[in-house]
């Protein structure tokens, strides 16, 4: 069933993630999950990795989920959904009464995806299961209290990369997981962010139509971990895209395409200034670190533009 992306229609739909869950005020995850579940346009079975979303929505004896959900462990949500999809195939083969049209969806954080669960995700993508993997990327281990992940950029303050007398935050850059997913040659890969709800939903609609794995990396601003006021979440999401630290693009059957190009690329300073986790970088002595980050962003942006112009 195709879903219209008219706001009026969307507003009248029943949320499949019910209110009353325990996610923080200002958290972008519930916004993203509700947009994804609306955009699917078909019933879904969801596999959750351990993380903020899972612990905040499944506290026994309650659940916020109006769709079937399984949480098994931290690292294995892609393998878990592989099993659900394999069961669906086998039961259909035997003529059992299982739904004809169902989406298999994973929600997992960047810790569960970039770090501890990368092998399970890679395995499931290589095997070609039909599933949509949504990475809720809040650039760190927020559920355990703001630790660094391989999605955290250089010189970010986290509780395991604290700012000290000799180290001004995390020394390493982040890993380009979206490109790693694309390198698996799966039918659909994309990056998106919640402020651009239409971009996000259109990508989900494309992803759910492919007969194979799809991976969408969604920036998930976290006011607690990023140290900004809760009402700023959507503005922060837009800043990430307008500074080009989080470009919106898709890779459809190997074709790279930019889905949004900021009319005016903002300096990275604007992104850093808006968040307390970068407060130390605004000190004069750390100007070279800001320049280093700007260079990295510029290089990656240029490389992306090149990839997207290739035929």
């Amino acid at each position: 069933m195709p879903v219209t992306l008219a706001l009026r229609d969307l507003a009248s739909q029943t949320d499949l993630l019910a209110p009353g869950h325990g996610l923080c005020a200002g958290c972008s995850e519930s916004v993203i999950v509700r947009l994804v579940l609306h955009a699917l346009g078909r019933p879904a079975v969801v596999s959750l990795a351990t993380g903020c979303l899972e612990v905040s929505t499944t506290r026994y004896p309650w659940t916020a989920w109006r769709v079937p959900v399984i949480h098994s462990a931290f690292e294995n949500s892609a393998a878990t959904i592989s099993g659900v999809e394999a069961a669906w195939k086998a039961l259909r083969r035997r003529g059992k009464a299982v739904p004809e049209d169902v989406a298999f969806v994973v929600f997992a954080g960047d810790g569960a995806t970039y770090d501890i669960g990368l092998q399970w995700l890679s395995g499931a993508m290589e095997r070609g299961h039909r599933f949509l993997y949504i990475c809720l990327n809040n650039e760190g281990y927020m559920n355990t209290g703001i630790q660094r992940s391989s999605a955290t950029i250089s010189w970010t303050w986290t509780t395991t990369t604290p700012v000290g007398r000799v180290l001004p935050g995390k020394p390493q850059w982040r890993k380009d997981l979206t490109a790693i997913a694309a390198a698996h040659g799966i039918p659909y890969v994309a990056q998106t962010a919640p402020h651009h709800w239409k971009d996000l939903m259109q990508k989900v609609q494309k992803a759910v139509r492919v007969d194979g794995p799809a991976f969408i990396n969604v920036l998930a601003p976290c006011n607690r971990g990023w140290r900004y006021p809760p009402e700023e979440t959507i503005r922060i999401s837009k800043l990430a895209v307008d500074t080009c630290i989080w470009p919106l693009y898709e890779v459809e059957r190997g074709q790279w395409r930019l889905t949004y190009r900021p009319s005016h690329k903002l300096p990275i300073q604007a992104w850093l200034e808006a968040q307390g986790r970068f407060a130390h970088l605004l000190r004069e002595e750390h100007r070279p670190l800001v320049e280093e980050i700007q260079q990295r962003v510029d290089q990656e942006w240029e490389a992306l533009l090149q990839r997207c112009s290739q035929r």
């Binding site: 019933p43 079975v45 596999s47 899972e54 612990v55 499944t58 506290r59 026994y60 004896p61 659940t63 989920w65 109006r66 769709v67 079937p68 959900v69 399984i70 949480h71 098994s72 462990a73 690292e75 294995n76 393998a79 878990t80 959904i81 592989s82 099993g83 659900v84 999809e85 394999a86 069961a87 669906w88 195939k89 086998a90 039961l91 083969r93 035997r94 299982v98 739904p99 169902v102 092998q119 399970w120 890679s122 395995g123 290589e126 095997r127």
Partner: protein
């Protein structure tokens, strides 16, 4: 030395088509016949024979199974958990280090009450790395809430692979089951065995009727949610109670299975124990060696006997105590270590089973077969000899076949 194997060594008997196959392939046939919807496995010695044989059934179109060739054992069990929660019959197989990699999910499978069947081909845990049989892997899953059935030979491993499906899926049980067969000794030795007809097995195991299924979209369920101090303990108690109920269910299934196979199984298998003065308790394939030695000793007038434990979890403590009640001295053979513990795993269970009914008995223990070290009839004879010698103090005596010195 007597060459003739006693006629008391149970011949392969009962119903079925005679075949000469290794235990791993026999188990693969049982998998084919029990019609799992999903099989997920990763190659590891000595389990690989099962996965290879089953892959051939898939390639030949002999099964409807969705075979998921995963990238690790952790993923194998993860896939089985997803599949079983979705409402499918799911099976896997592994050995030693593969089981160790799965360990996190052993408790997830039992905690979610998913009747997954695993064929565990026992292998020593590293380090030092070793591919041969001991029970360090099986004992590492001892307290994870899985039912553990040990087998002596390929026929038993095949039969238990069929029974395990019914056991786990029984509404009074709903727990995962490990069918344990000794690496190489059972998995790779070609034996004469009897294969039941496909339709007989199919009818015996029936259809899996899950109480809840992720694919039942009309009744959406949340599986594996967060469970804190207010409910966690009750849910864990539920598992323990299901494990206790499994004992009676398993006895009933043994009876049903005897009707289709002519092969009678019990929770524990006594051999010439009724009038025995010295008895040995053992798990797995070594029961064959002990049985041979018991016969030799009996021929010499020694009142020797054996108790082989088939159902290690649930542990049939009352049946064990009853079987050993009249035996004067009991020797327990452990194929796993418990460094720093008062005794290795089987010894501890036997001691507490006897203490539980107030039986005070001369109890001696030996460790054997670690990392595939051969256990020979003369080792077992030595055990019986020591049991009969009242000057040897009770407790852990030593290691069978250990090379002395450093």
């Amino acid at each position: 030395m007597a060459l003739a194997v006693s006629s008391r060594v149970p011949p392969v008997h009962g119903l079925g088509t005679p075949v000469a196959l290794d235990g791993g392939t026999l188990v693969a046939h049982a998998m084919r016949q029990t019609r799992p919807d999903v099989v997920a496995a990763y190659p590891i010695t000595p389990q690989t024979v099962i996965t290879e044989a089953f892959s051939q059934f898939v390639a030949n179109g002999e099964v409807h199974t969705e075979f998921v060739p995963v990238e690790s054992e952790h993923a194998a069990l993860s896939v089985c958990i997803g599949a079983a929660a979705a409402g499918a019959r799911a099976q896997t197989a592994t050995s030693g280090p593969g089981l160790a990699l799965m360990w996190e999910l052993l408790g997830v499978a039992s905690g979610m009450r998913l009747p997954i069947v695993m064929h565990l081909c026992t292998r020593a845990l590293s380090a030092p790395i070793n591919i041969l049989c001991d029970h360090s892997d099986a004992m590492a899953m001892r307290d994870t809430g899985w039912l553990l059935l040990f087998s002596e030979n390929g026929q038993e491993a095949y039969d238990q692979a069929i029974i395990a499906v019914r056991l786990g899926e029984h509404p009074q049980v709903l727990l995962p089951v490990a069918n344990v067969l000794d690496g190489f000794i059972v998995t790779h030795c070609v034996e004469r065995a009897l294969l039941l007809p496909d339709e007989v097995v199919s009818e015996f195991v029936g259809e899996y009727q899950p109480a809840y299924a992720l694919l039942d979209l009309q009744r959406p369920v949340t599986v594996g949610g967060l469970d804190f101090q207010d409910f966690h303990m009750e849910h864990k108690r539920g598992q323990v109670e299901a494990m206790a109920r499994a004992k009676g269910v398993l006895e009933g299934l043994f009876q049903e299975f005897a009707e289709i196979s002519g092969r009678i199984y019990r929770l524990v298998e006594p051999y010439r124990l009724a009038d025995a003065e010295v008895g040995v308790v053992v798990l797995g394939s070594t029961a064959g060696t002990v049985r041979y030695v018991v016969d030799r000793l009996r021929a010499r007038g020694v009142r020797a006997g054996m108790l082989s434990i088939r159902s290690f979890r649930p542990f049939p403590a009352l049946e064990v105590a009853a079987a050993l009640a009249e035996v004067k001295a009991v020797g327990v053979l452990d194929r796993a270590l418990a460094p720093g513990a008062s005794a290795p795993p089987l010894f501890s269970d036997i001691a507490s089973a006897l203490a539980g009914v107030g039986l005070s008995k001369r109890l001696l223990g030996w460790v054997y077969g670690i990392g595939g070290r051969e256990v020979l009839p003369q080792h077992i004879e030595g055990v019986f000899h020591t049991l009969a010698d009242p000057s040897v103090p009770p407790g852990l005596v030593g290691w069978l076949g250990l090379r002395e010195g450093r």
